[in-house]
């Protein structure tokens, strides 16, 4: 059984600091995107892309998921499957916007 005391995470404090600075920089990029003169959908795609990278860094290094291959795939496959499963309703949101009598 792996315990915190005897496992000694392979990443050092230096790597944690680099990841922290990267996360700050990525958060800064999100704020920068918010002030760009682009459409909402473009803004959404760019911000979510940055958010996914941020989440990946936090999961792999802050939560040490990179050190356990089995758990990493378990979390990844399950979460991605659930999140993807929730996307089925988007087409209906466009229908509500454009295809119903009370649409603008």
């Amino acid at each position: 059984m792996t315990t915190a005391a005897d496992s000694k995470h392979s990443t050092g404090m230096g790597k944690d600091l680099i990841v922290y600075v990267c996360l700050l920089a990525l958060a800064g990029i999100q704020f920068f995107i918010a002030y760009q003169n682009i459409s909402t959908s473009q803004m959404f795609v760019r911000m979510m892309s940055v958010a996914v990278i941020e989440a990946g860094l936090a999961l792999l290094f802050f939560m040490h998921l990179s050190e356990n291959r089995g758990l990493k795939w378990f979390v990844l496959i399950f979460t991605v499957a659930v999140v993807l499963g929730m996307q089925y309703g988007w087409s209906d949101s466009f229908r509500l916007l454009d295809g119903v009598p009370w649409a603008h």
């Binding site: 005391a5 958060a27 909402t40 941020e54 802050f62 949101s93």
Partner: protein
């Protein structure tokens, strides 16, 4: 025990089957695995809320963009990200047996969590002062306020729970009842709260920034 039983027992020991049966899932201790399962379930909860928010925002014409400044949310993001780093330092110190340092950094994380919550509530009070409530929105559709307070409220509830958990686990760690593993498991939850904020900020705040 009969000769046949002894023979089976010896066979099981030789093949290591006994060890295999007691090996935890993914070589992760049971408490840590329970926290991961909770995190997976909770991420589905937040994903459900954010997807519902996206659905309603997309399907509502003239969605309001009431935020004029991002200073407060930027400071809140900085505080939460920094609290994740202090939590990491605390856990690493605990793993290296530096009990006092581990406790100190856990309490710094708690202080940052409280500061985040205070800033969050201050922001809420400002919005409530402008007339926004769970069922009323002075800038247009009431759905905006309902979703804003629900999603940020759910996150704030998680931050509050995390602060309470960190205080409880930190004190018990200091008292010798809990070990570095327990601190690490609570840290996992704290990092998850931070991770969720990375999605809440762009969706709820930045996409609703007035231009």
């Amino acid at each position: 025990m009969s000769q046949a039983d002894l023979s089976i027992h010896a066979q099981v020991s030789r093949t290591g089957a006994t060890e295999t049966m007691t090996e935890p899932t993914f070589s992760v201790p049971a408490k840590k695995m329970a926290m991961w399962l909770f995190i997976i379930a909770d991420s589905a909860t937040f994903a459900g809320c954010l997807v519902a928010y996206g659905f309603i925002r997309n399907a509502t014409p003239d969605w309001p963009r009431p935020f004029h400044s991002i200073t407060n949310v930027a400071i809140m993001t900085l505080i939460l990200l920094t609290s994740s780093l202090t939590m990491l330092i605390g856990v690493r110190s605990a793993e290296q047996g530096e009990k006092a340092k581990a406790f100190r950094f856990t309490m710094i994380t708690v202080a940052l969590g409280i500061l985040f919550a205070v800033l969050h509530i201050r922001e809420w009070m400002g919005m409530i002062g402008e007339g926004a409530t769970l069922f009323r929105n002075p800038w247009g559709t009431p759905l905006f306020s309902s979703l804003f307070f629900s999603i940020t409220g759910l996150h704030l509830l998680h931050v509050t729970g995390g602060v309470i958990a960190l205080i409880a686990v930190g004190l018990k760690y200091q008292g010798g009842r809990y070990n570095a593993d327990d601190l690490e498991i609570t840290g996992l939850y704290w990092h998850f709260v931070d991770l969720v904020w990375m999605f809440v900020v762009p969706l709820v705040y930045l996409l609703n920034l007035a231009h």
